[in-house]
């Protein structure tokens, strides 16, 4: 970690380039780092991700290196999914729970082989990881500051990387990992992302960050490359149906009020819970929940009209049965989407509910009761996301 000698906020290894590109000079805080919410125009950034290539500096993402003889066993005890099924050279989406079976965070797990993993998370969880390590032969290192990372996402992203000279990158399968020489170092590329489309994440040592950025933008010059901020990313992740920790659920160990945390079942993540693999954190509580039923259900709502159901109450028969956690008008899908937590009995696909939406136009607040319907899946999913070899456009 860099000492906070001169400034409170940390800067990512791309900061010189990001700051130069950030015309709005509009910044937010992400786990101690400055991160741009938008560079110039959110809509343009959004359409860059959807139509060409958007580049997002994800260096502030918390990164742990977990290695040692028991690394797989250890991760299998921490994570709810079966980590033994995550092959070397692959990345998996994962969640982990506390003993009460409540989701602490979600993230991605990279298997580098030979009991060597990287866990990317939203929260800083070194304390939990260390407590969990008692009785295991593992070493856990916080490498957040030691790895610079860029998300390169969108339909032309593969073409951009090829322009950079990463030959054969189109053969990389979704959730695969590969390495290329980069100057006198190496760049690791994973076919992962938060956009629901074709996309990659590039990982390098901080010293190579600036030249990686420069070469990337040079290569993408004719392919519509554009730096994107947090606001545009927020739109695409809602469109693609991805949960955001701290927004769609409160990390369980950070809640202060009883009952505010959520289980995997309550977040629609039961596919990430494997009861066949043995002991894992939350197992007893989740078995109980499975027997006795969940309190809440997580749903995607297709909301009528074009007013985002921001922070709305969800009603059924005039009674409040849930609340919206994320909402956006999704330009590509041309639908008005909301993520909501509702009482579990109303969480069935096809259920018709009412969203109580408040919106303001020129200082006048209006309240509308808008019909919405529980839909089965997210509204955006590009076939390019799964295509191998990846298309140029």
């Amino acid at each position: 970690m860099k000492p906070h000698d001169e400034t409170m906020m940390l800067q990512t290894p791309f900061h010189s380039r990001v700051a130069k590109a950030c015309e709005l000079n509009q910044w937010d805080e992400w786990k101690g780092y400055t991160t741009p919410t938008a560079y110039a125009e959110v809509e343009q950034e959004y359409f860059a991700i959807r139509n060409s290539t958007g580049v997002f500096d994800l260096s502030p993402m918390t990164k742990y290196r977990i290695s040692g003889a028991d690394a797989e066993l250890y991760l299998n005890r921490v994570m709810t999914r079966d980590v033994s099924k995550l092959n070397p050279g692959r990345v998996g989406y994962t969640i982990w729970c506390n003993d009460a079976g409540q989701v602490m965070d979600d993230g991605t797990l990279f298997n580098f082989g030979e009991n060597d993993y990287r866990l990317c998370s939203y929260t800083r969880v070194m304390d939990w990881l260390q407590w969990s390590a008692m009785g295991f032969d593992v070493e856990i290192i916080d490498e957040t500051a030691d790895v610079a990372a860029l998300a390169v996402q969108g339909p032309t992203s593969c073409a951009v990387l090829k322009m950079m000279g990463f030959e054969g990158i189109e053969q990389l399968k979704p959730f695969g990992i590969t390495h290329f020489p980069f100057e006198d170092a190496k760049v690791m590329i994973s076919r992962t992302g938060f956009t629901g489309d074709l996309g990659y994440e590039l990982w390098v040592e901080p010293a190579k960050a600036e030249s990686l950025w420069d070469r990337l933008f040079e290569a993408g010059n004719n392919l519509g490359i554009r730096a994107i901020g947090g606001d545009a990313l927020e739109m695409v992740r809602i469109e693609a149906g991805f949960l955001q920790a701290g927004v769609d659920f409160v990390p369980a160990e950070e809640t202060e009020r009883i009952g505010r945390s959520r289980s995997p079942f309550e977040l629609g993540l039961s596919w990430l819970v494997n009861f066949d693999k043995g002991v894992f954190n939350g197992r007893q509580a989740l078995l109980k929940e499975k027997r006795e039923g969940s309190r809440y259900g997580f749903v995607f709502l297709d909301v009528e009209g074009n007013k985002p159901a921001e922070d709305s109450f969800i009603l059924k028969g005039g009674k409040e049965i849930g609340t919206v956690t994320s909402s956006a008008w999704c330009p590509t899908a041309k639908s008005n989407i909301a993520f909501a937590q509702v009482e579990s009995k109303y969480a069935n696909t096809g259920e018709n509910l009412i969203a109580e939406i408040y919106y303001q136009r020129e200082l006048k607040w209006t309240r509308i009761l808008t019909k919405c319907r529980v839909i089965e899946s997210p509204v955006f999913s590009s076939p390019k996301r799964r295509q191998t070899p990846a298309p140029d456009f």
Binding site: D99, M134, G135, F275, G278
Partner: protein, 533 residues
Amino acid sequence: MTNSHYDIIIVGGGHNGLTCAAYLAKAGRKVLVLERNGQVGGAAVTREFADGFRVSSCAQWLYQFNPSIRAELKLDQYGYELAAENLSTIALAADGNHLTLSSSGLGGTTVSEPDKKAYELFMKQMLKFSGLLAKASERRVPKLLEANWRDRFTLFKLGLGMKLLGKEDMQGLLRIALINIYDVLQENFDNDLVKAALSLDATLGTHTGPRSPNTVFSFLHRRLGEVFGFNGVSVVKGGMSTLSQALASAATANGVEIRTAVPVSRINSTADEVTGVTLASGEIVEAPTVVSNADPKTTFKNLLGFPKLETGVVRRVSNIRMQGNVAKLHLALDSLPQFDGLNENQSGQRLLIVSTMDGMERAFNSAKYGEYSQQPVMDISIPTLHDKTLAPEGKHVLSALVQYAPYKLKQNWDSVKENYTQLLVERLAEFAPGIENQILNCELLTPVDLEREFHLAGGHWHHGEISLDQIMMTRPFPGATQYAMPLTGLYLCGAGAHPGGGVMGLAGKNSAQEILRNNRSKSNHAGKKESVA
């Protein structure tokens, strides 16, 4: 793999394990007790420490053993016998003006009338408070959440009991329960030696000094014995093993199988339930219920293994405070030591070498920083004055609990053992001149030795500090109360469980009752699911 089918395996044949086994067998369960040491009894044992000299090698006094167990298991039929009971406590003064503390009052030439009166009132009030604690000790403790009718009733009775104390006593209890014994004794007494003697009862065997919080509670815990009918400490005839043997005989008579010198290396489990144990020999013994008489740290860390548990449990187990501070000194003497100002009868009482409360607090300060105290506090027994079988004719045994001797010493205990023994003998000689010349043989068991010999993690004889954060519904740790542990079929029955340490037997008895309640039918184990917390 053995073919024998057991309903219940008990890991550890300490007094609680044996008690638990006997109750379970009485109710028709097929029980196997596996004891690692060569003899049963755990920390309640007698063993030879020098040629022809035997001693209760860990616990030396019996003062809390629950009378219901003695009666229900018919222990008198199986050899339970006291060599002496209702002994007084004599606090030794350097000038020979000793004090006597007993159920009949406070005696001594230096004690003022107000102190005598205060002692009577104080002990009466403490007994009332301990009475409340006793009510909670004789049954399982209610859970904090998910209260069922039984738990609600227990809580109600506790509340009612408190109310029935009357306004003044209730206020008194609420006022002092959370503070320290130092302040309470300062308020009540003038005599420094009285205060020091009483504060020893509040700190003995714990990692606290008189000024530490929780010490009033541990004082009340110690006085449970008075509620159970002990008016002072007792000496078991033949040493503590006689009690353990009686429990073992009662258990065996009810059908329990006891195997000694059989260490268990693992408690076996699937993801959700225990399946039995693996012995050090590699033999696997299966049973749907495994009861651990070992302390919680040993049970979870060594026997089950942290990887078999969820992180929260691992964390809570790791955080159990259990650092022993007591060493045990055994002297083989060629004649009766001559304590200044004590006749032979008096020498057979419970003798305390204490300084002042401030002195003891300073002694604890040393312990906090990994040093043994230069002014050791001692709780002395000369059992041979009551029981001649323990030593050759005319010879004597002196056994002493010595505090503060911290488990986590800066140096290696083995390297300072000789110096420390010398220090202890010198301290004794201040009160019993010439004792150094009477010693034929001596043995010092440091907390590290106690850990090794009696398998007490941290050398802590209570299997975890008896303090407000580790008692009742938070003993051994939150989420693991009512003897059932966070794995179906696993129970705790030792001092690490409610109501805690001391040769009391209630943890074993309560645990047996809870196991029977969770699993009423002998052959049908389906009901055991309910035991998951």
